[in-house]
Symmetry: C2
Subunit: 460 residues, 2 copies
Amino acid sequence: MFLIQTEHGRIILSNEHLVVVGGVAAGLAAAMEARRRAPAFDITVLEKTGDVSYGACGLPYVISGLIPALERLIVHTPEYFRERHQINLQLNAEALEIFPAKSSLRVRQDGAEREIGYTNLVLATGAAAICPPLPGHDLAGVFVLRHMRQARQLLAYMHERRPEAAVIVGAGYIGLELAEAFAHRGLRTTIIEASDKVMSALDGRLRDRVVEELRAHNVEINFGERVVAFEGHGQIERVVTEQGRAVEAQIISIGVGVTANAALAANAGLELGASGAIVVDAAQRTSAANIFAAGDCCEVLHRVSGRRVWLPLGQPAVRQGWITGANAAGAQPALRYAGVVGTNAVKVFDLEVARTGLSHSEAQDAGFEAAVVEDEDYTRAGYYPGSAKILTRLIHDQRGRLLGAQMVGREGVAQRIDVYAAALHVGLTLEEINRFDLAYAPPFAPTIDPILRATKSSGQ
Amino acid sequence: MFLIQTEHGRIILSNEHLVVVGGVAAGLAAAMEARRRAPAFDITVLEKTGDVSYGACGLPYVISGLIPALERLIVHTPEYFRERHQINLQLNAEALEIFPAKSSLRVRQDGAEREIGYTNLVLATGAAAICPPLPGHDLAGVFVLRHMRQARQLLAYMHERRPEAAVIVGAGYIGLELAEAFAHRGLRTTIIEASDKVMSALDGRLRDRVVEELRAHNVEINFGERVVAFEGHGQIERVVTEQGRAVEAQIISIGVGVTANAALAANAGLELGASGAIVVDAAQRTSAANIFAAGDCCEVLHRVSGRRVWLPLGQPAVRQGWITGANAAGAQPALRYAGVVGTNAVKVFDLEVARTGLSHSEAQDAGFEAAVVEDEDYTRAGYYPGSAKILTRLIHDQRGRLLGAQMVGREGVAQRIDVYAAALHVGLTLEEINRFDLAYAPPFAPTIDPILRATKSSGQ
């Protein structure tokens, strides 16, 4: 039984104690939604680091200098949650072990350990960037950017050591954003990617557009090359690849992938999926009673493949957080998460790159007999100044149902992909998408928008 | 029986003669699609004016000076159709009368009249701008812009007379585009609108944003004021309103509405709708055998209201043209036009204004018990520079089904409206739209896009 003082000074007695592990996107969304629905709940949020409620996706733009300080990424201070919403927010508090049988967890904070009881538990432990255990990965100047803390260290290092050359390991979307950031800061920048793709899905002509854009801004990119060692004396001096090539650099960012922080759940006997992330149902319930999970630590329904996959992204994390918070607060009927279609966008200098649904190889892996069409068209009426090319790739099955879309262009890509995302949400064919009545005005689109033209190039 | 020489020199005998009346968007789309499917057809296009195949929507931007010459709007020359595609394109050829009983029509060209037989006829006669018969409407300097010809006259007038002040009658989308055009040319510009809306649908806060943008660029706009006379000596000098106000101007553009060019069809006994436009079925067939109609001269299925309405817009015109051309060329099964949801966008200086579906009053007129929600949100992550407000209004029925959307903002509006257009196409509820997995990246959208946020403000 807990005494809680609300904003209006009322004292409420509560038998409910919701504990949330993780204080960034999903965790705080859950805590806030639970608070909105259950003013009498005792709500505790445990955050392992000293930072909560910040836009992690903005980190590359602080590193580039576009955003002047890391603090600008903070959405709300700890006081906002504590004082305005009576959420017991604990920083530097790490959940070490869950005891489902006695509904409690062991927490370490400021060197001391204690046990906390819960009636409902939400795991929003997120994901960790993978740091391959290569020789020299612990040299000064080798970073794996994920949290505020690492960004702070990286910025301090840049300020102190003034690196002139950077190597990015991995051409995922964070790698591409960081390449832009380093180039903006005047560093000679090289990306080394083991596969032949960028953003794990783009190859062929779409990839080539991204490569051209990088090269136009003096960022080198090498495909099919694997880093085998970091070398230096105390501080990073060069990266060595499988091919024996050495690239000089005074700063390295590793972005070869992320992994779900699911050890806490696994140790408590919660079911994990083949991906290694926590298995949840549509109400975000784990396999253990009264334990929910949300965000980058758990699997999610992919609406296109119908499978539960692990696809850690910011927007789904926040939505899962809301749903989890509502359900942990006892929403009846329980809210259900509709699943994702895998939409994602990234800016690469003056290029917009976006994808939704499955790539061709993902579609094949998911058992579809998938085909690909590509189309290139312009963003505005032919006579209107400033028109730019958009290259679109659509993946569809044998009945013509859209399975995925990828787009690259200089304007209007990140919003156009959303139309395909909407079509994927309801499972439309290219033929049906082609019937959409979309906006036309010379400054914004040609008479027949590239979205529509691309659906036509399948000849269906 | 006709002899036709194809591009490759072959001689083909044809018993089919497709005649198309109208040589802009729908008419040429029909002729070209028919040619693609029926290489042996004899195809004649009759165009009343001397201009074919141009982007009429670009006229305001030639007037503004953004596009340096009218010729830049021309997509293809007459020779392209004649020589490359064996389309018998006749300029300054006006269809005067159709004789359905004997499958022929009477045509006037170069002062002479003749009769032409057809096996299939496509009417793509378009729409005409309404010129209210007010005193002085025939003064020099009073324009009703619709075709290339009028734009040519207007440009010549501006070059000769150097007007310093302009009045635009009517705040429809062409009126707004022309206001921007005149202001860009340095004219003092005033819009006079009889209703309290812009673009026939926007009122309240959304309208006010447009008004602010106009005023910030020195364009005055007055609502609820009706023009009763144009005054001057040979040349326009002032506009007089119902309220007795006189506005000095040396150039006037009237844009109070358009009307379907359906007299030719009506005189031949073809069925017209209550709108005065030609009635067609989903295959674009009129009530008369072997006569089709496409584009601004005919009615169209509105997918939201389920009614056949008259909604003359460029993109549907081109699509109807394709479908008509295919069907006139004997496509089996006949292609069917899926109908429109009424999507439209316009640039007003640095503002993007877009709408799709029904407005609140249109929804009420169509028999819906409609409700409205409004939401204001930002186009990018809060910390990312250049973020702009988007004001969104959604109209929905009592079950939460989306009926229409209107958006005003400085970026990303014309593309975002397309997501609502897609949702209207399939008839989704706000709740379902809210589940869309849309692109998120700090430079392009906040974590939860305005599209999604707006669906939430209904509280559903």
